[in-house]
Symmetry: C2
Subunit: 330 residues, 2 copies
Amino acid sequence: KGRYREFYQCDFDILGSNSVTADIEIATIIYKTVNALLGNDNFTIRLNNRAILNGLMTKLNLQDKTAHILRVIDKIYKETEEKIRLELSEKVQLSDEQIEEVMSFVKIKGTNQFIIESLEKMFEGNEIAINGINTLKDILSAVSAQNIPEKCYQIDLSIARGLDYYTGSVFETMLDQLPGIGSICSGGRYDNLAELYTSNKIPGVGASVGLDRLIAGLEELDLLKKELTTAQVMILTMDKNYRNEYFAMASSLRAAGINTEVYSDDKKLDKQMKYADRKGINLVIINGSQEFEQNKVKVKNMLTGESFDTISKDDFVEKISSILHSKDKE
Amino acid sequence: KGRYREFYQCDFDILGSNSVTADIEIATIIYKTVNALLGNDNFTIRLNNRAILNGLMTKLNLQDKTAHILRVIDKIYKETEEKIRLELSEKVQLSDEQIEEVMSFVKIKGTNQFIIESLEKMFEGNEIAINGINTLKDILSAVSAQNIPEKCYQIDLSIARGLDYYTGSVFETMLDQLPGIGSICSGGRYDNLAELYTSNKIPGVGASVGLDRLIAGLEELDLLKKELTTAQVMILTMDKNYRNEYFAMASSLRAAGINTEVYSDDKKLDKQMKYADRKGINLVIINGSQEFEQNKVKVKNMLTGESFDTISKDDFVEKISSILHSKDKE
């Protein structure tokens, strides 16, 4: 669902900074964005750091097999543990001991605090890995300083993402109720990516919201508000001879920021009213020759049935605006 | 320029209405949209109506050759008149008299008023054409009732657009200074289109903004505002030990709708200041250990050089908000 050959993504990136400050900013934006789109905290940003994985490879003396190993463990959510072990043994040619080390590493689960303590014990003296662990600690402490619930961030040592592409932090965002849909916002630090395109070394960190997947997810969770209309006022077309006046009124209302629809078909009044009602447009303007001759505007509130007959055409925009605002307050 | 194999367009359509009210609405939206995007009135919406062209074909007894003829005259801006005449004679097999009638029709130029009067004389008693002429009149009179400058609308009898697709009103929008870029917003009434897809007859009228072309045009006219940043405040990272505090402050400012950047690299203070200056960020927060210990926020106005040292951290968001608002008023 939500996986197409062509897809839309919204990216946010910070280029030119090596600092963990940039990683924190991206981790914060992921939370703020997904929270705003979902309207709740039912999602988890999985965090990891490639430096820890690299540290593990160094520790096991498997640097030359890094890419291959990461590609295998990246499948840990899709395959059985047995199959993963078999692949590490047969295809990557790891020893039983090495397989045990790799598997016990990716299977470290628990609170962020527990995982960090386990990692710190495991990688004492391993500078590469400690750098990655510190970045995780810095991110978690900075998001907590911003009062973002820590439950939305979970260290997950099995995510590697894009293998050769990322160099430090990696992020994946899962909807708690729809894990099957996959990550809806992913990214990480990619300090070597620019080198492929320019001779400059431009460090970068960023993430992308996968819009199609996200929308598929929001639909499935019934979180997509379907609005029938944004119109607040509809002008009934009672008399074709006054069409220009209807458009002039609409133009004045719109200039004041009031979303206005001119009923655009030649139908009877009750059909026009029913249409407004069905669309949830709350105010209708019912002006015929009589009202125009008296320089008046007749407004009906579709919710209360209340009619306002005596609005002068000279200040009808302000009057309608105040009726709309008083409704907001109710 | 701005012509790609894949392109983006924004559509607006009214479905289900036969009424000229809908045509007026679309003609109005074209003006309002292009005016808002350009920020000026240097564009012309060319109007025509297929019914008038159909009326001409009926008059000349050329109904069966309509599509072919329209395809030829649609090229009138790209080809010489000689070539057009030759094609009408050789390929469409029109008589000299018929060619004369067609050419004198598409070459009627002048004010909208003049063209309408010419058409009314030309098509007296031709019901099909009169219907089209009346629609043009209704649109022009309704846009003028909304105080939209008539100079932005020009009847142009040579535009046909999409030939078999449109049935009534047709619109094309040209940038006055860049006619070569082609129409940036086109459309019309397509009452038979839905029949191709459903058994229902659904009348419709609408138009599309060609985004790529429009953006190419705006760039060429130097009308695309290039903003360096939307940030109003930048928090300098003077001391890494206070990183969490910087993010907490940013979080409070952002929650109040103040766009805030945390400087994300480990650079010296003067480099950070220069960055803010170059980006046009007017307020910077310069907090070090001293300020945090005194529960203060130090703010510097990059424009005036003025410093505010004594802002209490408890209400710094309101204070900064009021500094920003007082700047707006200046």
